[in-house]
């Protein structure tokens, strides 16, 4: 009896595990491609980069000290960035949290045209033409969105198109903990 029961139980247990994992992938609570960022809870990488609007000027991330802010990595070449653009615009308006855009490996003229046409959700948007700052942030795809605390630590990261629902679930509670937007 046992020799038939053991494999049957093992198969059922394995089946249950697969079903559980597939179910979570199906409803979006498990992303197998997600890579947990080692930056969470650590000091946010600092950077100085030229502005997309005016490359002669540079933006220094130290100027954000004492504020909760969002870093959004995007590019005009990235379809999911286009997908999240409306959400970025409304979230930056509604929440009052400043959005700093990092335009990753992009053409500056193209980026200016894109923002003029679709609207600009960013308080500041800088150009990372060589992709070095993106590597410091551990970026492996676009879009990626980070939340930085008042004391300059990375609170959260989201890879993929940001939506109001994702914001409400992942970012909004952390912003409240920080005492809201500046």
């Amino acid at each position: 009896m046992l020799r038939y029961l053991t494999p049957a139980i093992a198969a059922l247990a394995l089946g249950a595990l697969f079903w559980f994992a597939l179910h979570r992938i199906g409803n979006g609570t498990l992303d197998v491609r997600e890579i947990k960022s080692p930056l969470i809870g650590r000091a946010a990488p600092t950077f100085t980069l030229p502005l997309v609007m005016d490359p002669a000027q540079r933006f220094d991330s130290h100027s954000m000290a004492g504020k909760v802010y969002v870093v959004n990595v995007w590019g005009t070449w990235c379809p999911a960035c286009r997908e999240e653009h409306e959400s970025l615009i409304s979230l930056s308006r509604i929440t009052g949290v400043p959005f700093v855009g990092i335009d990753w490996k992009d053409d500056n003229a193209e980026a200016n045209r894109y923002l003029a046409q679709l609207g600009n959700p960013y308080q500041t948007v800088v150009a990372d033409a060589e992709g070095r700052v993106a590597i410091d942030w551990g970026v492996y795809g676009a879009p990626e969105t980070f939340l930085v605390s008042k004391d300059g630590k990375v609170l959260a990261k989201y890879a993929g198109a940001l939506t109001e629902a994702v914001w409400a679930e992942k970012f909004a509670p952390l912003v409240s903990q920080q005492g809201g937007a500046p």
Partner: protein, 143 residues
């Protein structure tokens, strides 16, 4: 004669393929020592975009940027451990094809050994039981 020519052409083609997996078209370093380190490191680092390719094999833009970082760090005299530490601080252990032994990966590292032990144990039990049984009355079969 023709047959041997075909075989040698095939062998030569296969040998060429070995080198063809890397994306770089020219050597990163003029000296063999640093070039070997560069090739070894880029083979050991995972391309985060494609996830099943090393940064040496991938033509993704990020893989190119990571190869540039590795090349610059080797040129700057950084050790292999420094370079790996730089990348894991940003991308986590996932960037390494060979994850370090830690509480989280101990099962991963121990699994092959455990599976061998389990198989050997089960096989030994079955063999011992069968060797003790009388030849004509196999206890496994219903009479």
């Amino acid at each position: 004669m023709i047959r041997t020519q075909r075989w040698s052409a095939l062998a030569a083609g296969l040998l060429l393929c070995v080198g063809a997996f890397a994306i770089d078209t020219e050597a990163a370093f003029p000296d063999a020592v640093r070039q070997a380190r560069y090739e070894h490191l880029t083979q050991e680092l995972r391309c985060l975009v494609c996830q099943n390719q090393s940064i040496a094999d991938s033509n993704a833009s990020l893989a190119g940027d990571l190869r540039r970082e590795v090349k610059e760090m080797i040129a700057a005299g950084k050790s292999d451990d420094d370079i790996k530490a730089f990348l894991t601080a940003r991308y986590g252990d996932f960037v390494l094809y060979e994850p370090p032994l830690s509480a989280r990966t101990v099962l991963l590292w121990a699994a092959p050994g455990l599976l061998v032990l389990l198989t050997v144990g089960a096989a030994t039990r079955v063999i011992l039981r069968r060797s003790k049984a009388p030849i004509d009355a196999d206890p496994e079969e219903p009479v």
